[in-house]
Symmetry: C2
Subunit: 232 residues, 2 copies
Amino acid sequence: MEKFWFILLSLVLSYASSEASQCSIKGLPLVRNISELPQDNYGRAGLSHITVAGSVSHGMKEVEVWLQTFSPGSRTPIHRHSGEEVFVVLKGSGTLYLASSSHEKYPGKPQEYFIFSNSTFVIPVNDVHQVWNSNENEDLQMLAIISRPPIKVYVTSLPPSFCTSIFAVTMLFRTLLLYSYLWIETFAPPTLLNMLSRFIYNDWSMPHTAAKLKFPYFWDEQCLQEHVKDEL
Amino acid sequence: MEKFWFILLSLVLSYASSEASQCSIKGLPLVRNISELPQDNYGRAGLSHITVAGSVSHGMKEVEVWLQTFSPGSRTPIHRHSGEEVFVVLKGSGTLYLASSSHEKYPGKPQEYFIFSNSTFVIPVNDVHQVWNSNENEDLQMLAIISRPPIKVYVTSLPPSFCTSIFAVTMLFRTLLLYSYLWIETFAPPTLLNMLSRFIYNDWSMPHTAAKLKFPYFWDEQCLQEHVKDEL
């Protein structure tokens, strides 16, 4: 519960403040040189991540674009999310592991796909996946495009028992829910709606229900904390 | 009105059929070589367009990714849309014309921005814009990422008078509207919701209200027609 209020406070403050250096586009030109954008590994060895257009830093509400480079052997976590994701491989090659088993208890043995320069693939919504740079000799560079649909993400992140009780209430409460739905979609910070749905797995046999919700995500964490610090 | 029914029929048929060659990913591998994807100029001189991940052909619901190459001197139409758009320039250089005047009567004289290889820019929602390859010696190649938010697009596409009358109805009708809203968002084909919002201008002094709704869009037209043909 404490975490919830901290997150809410962070989001409110991030809305109130937009002066933080690399966490805001304020003062930056409309056309930006990607090689001059902030890049970091955000605590993940072998990663270079650049948020080309993002929610926290650029105010995007419906889509994010990342440029990610993985050194040989490095990889994403095993994870899933409720938004669409498109990859465009710019350089190098690697392996995509994909478990299309969101209705099973756990991901299970994933399918393996060879990915290569100038290839593209779409991760089906909520399918557990991982991308590895399995090429020992070359970096793997990709553009990742993530959609951030509103409310649906938030609803599917609620525990099933909560969802069940919501759907069991009377007509009166259903009407109230509809109004809340519209209110949330219209007025709530998009970050609140969009970031609640990334789950990380330790391995492919970890039950979906045990996967860990990662919020804020690695590259959003820094900016959210920076906003809070500026305000305190 | 006839056009509406044709559009609706096209969409229903496009949902019913998914066997058309380049208009479906059925049978294609998950990881696709971009250079083997269908490319066309769709009647626009100097353009090469590839839908890397699209709504009509790949079933995307929230985001589309295009790879577009413009030969020297060629350009996009002057247009606006209600989804977010991110560009990543892969090769060449050119000029972005952008009129941030969606609340005025017409776009007016646009701002000019130099765009270049490895640059990125975001088109603010509903701002009228055009991209030119103004470099005489080189092709301009870009990835364009378009978000496709649901219902909002559809609502803002309605004539103002219709919107006014909708908002003037009683509580009862407002409740009905809320239900329709949710119904449309949940069950209507995303293509219907997402494609209604691209308006094209003849020049920068054309009133916003006179801009022409372009639906289906150039690269979707072919697939929608193909679906209809297959069914008849």
